[in-house]
Structures are given as structure tokens and as C-alpha cells.
């Protein structure tokens, strides 16, 4: 990524892993939330910004959303536009819920666009905002899907 889109880019690194928390209920009874960085959004939501500065904003999508747009600078969105489950498996999660493999899909999914070279706003603002919303939704497990 460095030199390709933004010359000053550098990876943020950590010496220690973040703490693990196991779901408190079996997956078959858990409320599962999807958070993905595929740049998915509803047709009537604004697209993500695709410039060199990146975009740390996010979109909320209701659990029953079925029509998506994809805007992302890091991969060819034409393939995933044919089958959003490959990067934004909300429909697949609904099927797993209907079949009893998970308890239920959380009421809203969250979508970011994964090119975020300036990570400060993500770490200090939008990431914590989404975390608080996931806590408010009482999710048992968050599944994060990159693209």
C-alpha cells in the first residue's frame, strides 16, 4: 500500500494481542453481528470516498437489507456485485439463522471501506462509535469480514 496510494502510509503495529472474550451463549442461540470492510452500502446511502486519503466512515445496514452497492479502492467490486456474500455475507447469515445454525442476525450490520491509511479517526471515533452500537444491540458475537 505504501507508495501505491499514499507515500506516507505505514502499518500500525502492536506488541500484545487484544483480549479475547468468548460468546456467552452457544452459536445456535447467539445474536451475531456482521462488520465488513467491503465498502457495502445501501443504494440510497452515500458511497465511500475513494481518494488517496481513504475514508474512515461507516454505514449502518438493516439486517434485512438485500440490495447493496459496493465502493472500494482496493479490489475489483464487479465480482462481488454479482454475489455480495463473497465479501458481505449478510444474506448468508440470515440463511444460517433461518436454519438454526445461529440464533439470530443482529438488527444492523456495519460497513466500512477498508482503505483507511489515516487510522486515527477509525481508532478514536468511528470504531468506538460502532462498538457502542454493537453493545447497544446486545450482540453475542461480532464477525468481521475483510475484502
Amino acid at each position: 500500500m505504501r507508495g501505491h496510494l499514499r507515500a506516507s502510509f505505514d502499518w500500525v503495529t502492536f506488541d500484545e494481542p487484544s483480549a479475547r472474550r468468548l460468546p456467552e451463549r452457544p452459536i445456535s442461540r447467539s445474536r451475531v453481528a456482521l462488520v465488513a470492510t467491503a465498502g457495502a452500502h445501501l443504494p440510497d446511502q452515500p458511497a465511500f470516498v475513494l481518494g488517496k486519503e481513504g475514508d474512515s466512515s461507516y454505514r449502518e445496514l438493516p439486517a434485512d437489507a438485500s440490495e447493496f452497492r459496493l465502493s472500494h479502492v482496493g479490489y475489483d467490486t464487479r465480482r462481488a456485485s454479482e454475489d455480495p456474500d463473497v465479501v458481505f455475507p449478510l444474506s448468508l447469515l440470515r440463511r444460517l439463522a433461518a436454519e438454526g445454525e445461529i440464533g439470530e442476525v443482529a438488527p444492523r450490520a456495519f460497513s466500512f471501506m477498508g482503505y483507511i491509511p489515516e487510522t486515527g479517526p477509525l481508532l478514536r471515533q468511528t470504531g468506538p462509535e460502532v462498538a457502542r452500537k454493537l453493545l447497544a444491540d446486545a450482540v453475542d458475537l461480532v464477525v468481521l469480514v475483510p475484502s
Binding site: 502499518w11 494481542p17 472474550r21 462481488a80 448468508l92 461480532v142
Partner: protein, 95 residues
């Protein structure tokens, strides 16, 4: 993805992520990641390959309930064998 997962971890949420590149996830060190060596933009598998999509997601969910140490990257064993798209993406010769 690893940075966002760390934020969620720090808020006390139970999380599991997919990753396509082990080396990038090793920098962020989130609580638990599952490696699938699929191309960018095809994280769960090929377009229309629902069997693989399901297998990836089921395996990921299963690992979420397994008591791995924090920072574990589990190789789910999925490899892209349809073409050389992933290899070309990794050397910036494909998008």
C-alpha cells in the same frame, strides 16, 4: 480489519475475524483471526460458490467458541485453486 477488531475487543465484545493475509494480521494482533487464502474481493470464495461460503463462515463461527489464546490466527485451510488471481493481486498485477 485487525485494528477495528482491536477496538471492538477493547469494548468487551466477543469477536472473530477472517483474514486473507497472515502477515498483516500479525501486525495488528487482534484477539482471534481465521486465515482463508482467497483473493481480495472474494473473501468467502468464488461468486456463486455457496458451499464454500457456508463452509468458511461455519468454520469461522466454530473457532469463535474455541478457547484459543488471544492473538491466535487459525488457518482454516481454504486455498484458492481456480486461477492465479490471488498471486497476481499479491504482487500488484491484478485488482
Amino acid at each position: 480489519m485487525g485494528l477495528l477488531q482491536r477496538v471492538f475487543d477493547e469494548h468487551g465484545l466477543a469477536t472473530v475475524s477472517l483474514t486473507q493475509v497472515r502477515e498483516i494480521t500479525e501486525l495488528a494482533r487482534p484477539s482471534l483471526a481465521c486465515l482463508v487464502e482467497h483473493p481480495f474481493g472474494l473473501t468467502l470464495g468464488a461468486v456463486g460458490d455457496e458451499a464454500t461460503h457456508r463452509a468458511v463462515l461455519r468454520a469461522c463461527l466454530a473457532e469463535a467458541t474455541t478457547p484459543h489464546p488471544a492473538g491466535t490466527i487459525v488457518d482454516l485451510g481454504f486455498r484458492w485453486q481456480r486461477d492465479d488471481l490471488r498471486e497476481r493481486q499479491l504482487v500488484k498485477q491484478a485488482h
